[in-house]
């Protein structure tokens, strides 16, 4: 509970005593780690372990400072970074909350397909297939699974204003998403990441996408109601939870006749 020595500005103790700079004598790597980074890691642990659940209020800065025996400023800097990474949300006068996918604000962080005209809104969702299967080699590799491990395969079609626009396939590690069925997916309202977070305790915090242009194959063409060969945007996404652990592979085909993938470079 108290892995950190205190460092009053002028005391005689060794600053950064726990930071690793002395411990790395053999490795010859500096591995200096500031105090606030260590605090950040401790807070992240509590987030990951579920001590504070998505949507909940975490202890105040002064409280955390007391717990970790550091100044409020140090806790503040740690939380600043967590807020910048969207793991946590600050609200002045109220406190700091664990981020959740159950908010309007979060919904369009991972859904980047916007209508060319009009305001963004949520698509209708039709589940086409859900099954448990042995992970194909490529999927296993991208999800860091052993070849042959079980995965849940999901296929779904999403429509904006009745117009089929997104055809998606997902692969999820079977060990984590045990018991995920078409019924539960159908019943659930709101974004799929909200369900993952609430029902399976797995929160997506980061994703990496590779985007290509492809021609619609016969199956996709029929489902999306376009001619075979119609150019589609293909987005292959790997999502990660705490600790950079891959927990989702998703391949989406986007019809971009009246929508576009929005990206801001900054």
């Amino acid at each position: 509970m108290n892995p950190l020595p205190s460092h009053p500005p002028g005391d005689g103790s060794t600053p950064n005593g726990a930071a690793g700079s002395t411990a790395a004598a053999a490795g010859n790597l500096p591995t200096f780690s500031p105090l606030y980074q260590q605090i950040k890691a401790l807070i992240t642990q509590s987030l990951q372990s579920g001590e504070w659940k998505p949507g909940e209020l975490i202890p105040s800065e002064v409280e955390l400072a007391a717990r970790f025996k550091v100044s409020q400023g140090t806790v503040r800097k740690a939380i600043d970074e967590l807020a910048a990474e969207n793991l946590v949300m600050r609200r002045q006068g109220k406190g700091t909350f664990v981020s959740t996918h159950h908010e309007e604000r979060a919904h369009f962080r991972f859904l980047r397909l916007m209508p060319d005209t009009g305001v963004p809104h949520h698509p209708d969702n039709r589940i086409l297939d859900v099954r448990r299967q042995s992970a194909p080699a490529e999927v296993a590799q991208l999800l860091s699974l052993k070849s042959g491990d079980a995965v849940i395969y999901i296929k779904r079609l999403m429509s904006f204003d009745g117009a089929p626009t997104i055809l998606e396939e997902l692969w999820l590690p079977g060990a984590i998403f045990k018991g995920l069925t078409a019924e539960r997916l159908d019943q659930y309202k709101g974004p799929m990441y909200g369900l993952f977070e609430s029902e399976f305790g797995t929160r997506m915090i980061r994703a990496s996408e590779k985007i290509r242009a492809v021609g619609a194959d016969p199956a996709a063409a029929e489902l999306l109601g376009v001619a075979e060969g119609t150019p589609l945007l293909c987005a292959e996404r790997v999502s990660f939870t705490y600790g950079d652990k891959a927990v989702e592979l998703r391949r989406g085909l986007y019809l971009t006749a009246h929508h576009h993938y929005q990206n801001d470079l900054s």
Copy 2:
């Protein structure tokens, strides 16, 4: 030179006296602006005016603190945000430098097309056309120009390892890029944004892209060496300089047979 009052912690002056909270009596809007935001705006002004040029060292934090009559911590927070926005780069022990597009590090911030295998590298560049013309209506609107204003039109083909992969069209405000010719584009080595920055004093700091899948038209198909109708990624980019001023419209067609558009959602 001294638009800011000083705010010692315990003095009797009115804190945030220049922040606008009192000045907005009629408008009823809070419009409270912290000191460090005002400092940030002042530093940004100096960047925009060219007082410190891309690649140059800006004054040290203590020096700026003295100039603006605030504490180093306040200057620090201002620079922190500028560094987060890539306007400035900090280097411990050396100082803070104005960001420039003349660095390896910056080159792939706006070029997101990566090879499916192997390490990212720079494409060869072949200028196909450069001309001065009257801005088409759509271009004028996106660049906030008056319909009929002059624009520079550029068409170029980029190849990776000899394979044509990117076909791009650009529209630049004629008033800013006066004297831009095919020769200067051909002679210039390195990224185009580097030339814009060095030769025309206009630094791109942000861009917004809309991405679609399209079929190759006959002209594009021939230049890229593919069949007509081949699916291509179409990225329409509007770039901005200081003050959110649009200064470039770019439409790129990407052949994604052996490359992909890389995007990280975080």
